[in-house]
Amino acid sequence: MTQASVTQARFQAVLAALLAANLSVVQAASPPSGMPVIGVVEAQGSFRLDQATISGNATLFEGATIETAAGQTSQELRNGARVTLLPESKGRFYDDHMVLERGQGRLERGTGYFFEARGLTVQPETGSSTGRISLDPASGVQVAALTGSLRVLNSQRMLVAKVLPGMPLAFSPQVSGGNGVARVTGRVVNKGGHYVLTDETTNVTVEITGTGLKKEEGRRVEASGYLDPTATPVSDATQVIRVTSITRLAAGVAPAGAGGAAGGAAAGAGGGLSALVISGTAIAIIGGVAAAAVVGGLAAAGTFNGSQSVSR
């Protein structure tokens, strides 16, 4: 071992000791015991923190409610996540998640951090993902991934969609789970004797079971049926759907139930999404949540109604 390497090793040892000592000093300088400080909220103007008007910045405690008016607030959380609450929004903040009660929120650097909105959980797939979640009284929850991808889970923590950049989705949780009704669209793939399908709208892979699937192998179909919560899906799939109706689709052609037609199913089961434009776009129902692509980002508007119900 050379003299230089010995010196370097000693330096590293000293540095480690110093870092440890420094850490203990910093750890000792934590807020008073039992004080659940989770971060700092900042704004250029004023905002409301637990119903009190505050200008500039404030310490963010566990369970604090923040409400914005004309301006926006930025919440820098101690776990590294950054949450922006856009104008006319309201959210309740916790150490590991934020409950969006009104308006829009944006999540950055959110490893381990997630949003909750109307029973749905939205979390980044990776720490580098950035996304925006919007609540609309008429259309439900809208999720847009700005970078990376976001995962949307239902109240039973079941994956209902992966939202990719440039492909915002709108969600409407169904009343009492929509009786397990499911509707997916995609190409049927045989995987070790099991048939799986990745839904084109939600990017969720499901296993489908039922009769007559063999002849649909490799084809693009729209499958309707019921979720089987007792069955264990094959690897890569998140749930098993027992198919009651299957419709063969031409490549690049929207399913018959797209837009207004399928909207009826979604609206009937989910009771929402009425303000979205989904014309020519499939509407999926997975895990008791109706999901549809949003045209023109989060600013989409239009109809989601129809009379056709899911065939069984």
Partner: protein, 564 residues
């Protein structure tokens, strides 16, 4: 241009035209001769031109400046990094703050430049402080990571599995993206680790370079916050510093800043528009730092009321008046009630009550009512006796009734009469119609109830919460009725406060209905309290079977309670 004064005329020559000596006019047949300027005159003329040029230049400069500001404002409103950068080039600190937000990677440098350009811009210092603190937090997190990993490079395989989503099916498929993340994170790690090590060494080498150097960026943050407080004596910098000191668990720093903030709270800036709600964040923060509520108020209130603070605090708290302190107490009382911190709220309420200020009565009445509904009778009696202004309540001595002679208007709260909604509904704001449509009216020494004939079939007319010991009591009262048929349906009721519905039903006592009496009539009713406590005595109306709803008037006076 006409030449001014200091010119000299040529010597008059024969035949030359000269102004008329008296009238100062030239002869009409010759034109006036303009004199040549002397050096002094030429100097004056040049000065005049120069002054005009300077004025013109200043005007043009001002116009250019205005145009530049307008252009910058237009650029700023576009709110993109490029446009805000151009706007910030004029040196406006607000623009630079926004630029720092839009370009987080350059935020530190941008804010430092802004601070240098305008050292009196407190908002820039605050932003800088927040940024340094944020960097400190990240560095701290990184340091924790280093310690946890024994100064090893982090295992991103493991890190990837730590996230919630990783447990979800399909997480293992993100290999490509994960590899990118790993590469990026490793590079970032190398840079940051080097940065951490470098900073630590620097801190050790120059421990006095910044205050609190042991906490690295936090020391720089503190300096920035304190600079903001120095350059701006308003509320915002003090509030920001107080928050920072709280987060750093530095009580001395916190209280210094909090006292300063309390003295400058905008919620109390205008006596005509006091907003106690907006004081709550500061009080809440102080309450988290100091659990004892009175100590919080002592620290934040007048220096002369708390000489232990010393001269330093006295100076900082200059401007905090007794008026402000009193409002602070009220705001804190509201805050504690909102947090259901009953014992602490009682302590603050006692202090509020000690001021004997009529303006506090409604707030204290409300609090006593809340205590009663919450079953905290002892605290309610103690507080009531301190401020209410009625005869002292002492159930042990049989002093249980308040305002029985109706000498003062019922307060509709606390232990006084309620001539409308019962206490529970007063607190819960049920929106129910008071007295079921019956109109109670107080006049000195009596109350009057008018029954319109359309009232509810059963409703409370009056209620008072009685603090009683266990025993038997006699209620004596005088009443008079007009146009009320027999039976009137009006009676007293004593409802127990027992825990179970069955026990309450057993403890419930009800008097026979009042007999109609067109003249004042004295009546009495005996009832028993099974246990010591506070329970409501009610005057109720219940339509008797076979009768129509009452239409008439009841007058009530001289209600007394005796222990038997």
């Amino acid at each position: 241009m006409e030449a001014r004064g200091n010119s000299t005329r040529k010597p008059a020559t024969p035949g030359a035209a000269t102004p008329d000596a008296e009238g100062g006019k030239f002869p009409m047949d010759r034109p006036p001769q303009i004199d040549r300027l002397t050096p002094a005159g030429r100097w004056a003329q040049a000065s005049s031109w120069a002054l005009t040029a300077v004025r013109l230049g200043l005007f043009l400069a001002a116009v250019c400046g205005i145009l530049r500001l307008a252009a910058a404002e237009i650029e700023f409103r576009d709110d993109t990094p490029a446009t805000v950068l151009r706007a910030a080039s004029i040196g406006n600190s607000e623009y630079r703050e926004r630029l720092a937000e839009l370009q987080p990677e350059q935020a530190r440098e941008v804010l430092r430049q802004a601070a240098l350009a305008d050292p009196r811009a407190a908002s820039v210092w605050i932003s800088l402080g927040l940024l340094e603190e944020r960097l400190g937090e990240r560095r701290l997190a990184e340091t924790r990571g280093l310690k946890k990993r024994g100064l090893e490079k982090p295992s991103f395989e493991k890190r990837g599995l730590e996230g919630r989503g990783a447990a979800e099916p399909g997480a293992e498929k993100r290999g490509g993206e994960k590899r990118n993340v790993e590469k990026h994170d490793v590079e970032k790690y190398d840079v940051e680790k080097h940065d951490v090590e470098k900073r630590d060494v620097e801190q050790i080498a120059v421990p006095d370079a910044v205050a609190g150097a042991s906490s690295g960026d936090f020391g720089l943050a503190r300096e920035a916050f304190e600079t903001a407080v120095r350059v701006d004596h308003q509320y915002a910098p003090a509030w920001a510093l107080a928050n920072f000191c709280f987060r750093q668990a530095d009580p001395e720093c916190f209280w210094r800043a909090a006292v300063r903030a309390a003295a400058r709270a905008p919620a109390l800036a205008d006596p005509a528009q006091v907003n106690l709600t907006d004081l709550r964040p500061l009080l809440d923060l102080a309450g988290r730092m100091e659990p004892a509520p009175l100590a919080v108020l002592d620290r934040l209130s007048l220096p002369e009321r708390n000489p232990r603070e010393g001269t330093r605090a006295d100076t900082l708290a200059e401007g905090v008046t007794a008026w402000r302190a009193a409002h602070m107490e009220k705001a804190y009382l509201d805050d504690l009630i909102g947090q259901n911190r009953w014992e602490d709220a009682v302590m603050v309420a006692r202090r509020v009550a000690s001021h004997r200020d009529a303006a506090n009565t409604a707030r204290l009445d409300d609090f006593v009512t809340r205590l009663l509904v919450a079953g905290r009778a002892g605290a309610a009696i103690d507080l009531w006796n301190r401020y209410a202004g009625f005869a002292v309540l002492d159930p042990a001595r049989g002093l249980s009734l308040t305002n029985g002679d109706f000498a003062s208007a019922p307060r509709e709260a606390g232990f006084d009469w309620r001539l409308g909604l019962p206490a529970s509904e007063t607190v819960s704001a049920s929106g129910r119609q008071p007295s079921g449509g019956i109109e109670p009216r107080w006049t000195p020494a009596l109350v009057e109830f008018r029954f319109p004939g359309g009232e509810l079939e059963q409703t409370e007319l009056a209620e008072q919460w009685l603090p009683l010991r266990a025993g038997t009591f006699r209620l004596r009262f005088e009443y008079l009725t007009r146009d009320l048929p027999s039976p009137t349906g009006i009676r007293w009721e004593f409802a127990g406060r027992e825990a179970t519905a069955a026990a309450r039903a057993e403890a419930r006592a009800e008097a026979p209905p009042f007999e109609p009496s067109e003249r004042w009539r004295e009546a009495q009713w005996k009832f028993s309290a099974a246990s010591q406590g506070v329970a409501p005595l009610r005057l109720i109306y219940r339509r008797e079977p076979g009768t129509e709803r009452a239409r008439g008037t009841l007058l009530l006076r001289r209600v007394r309670l005796e222990v038997l």
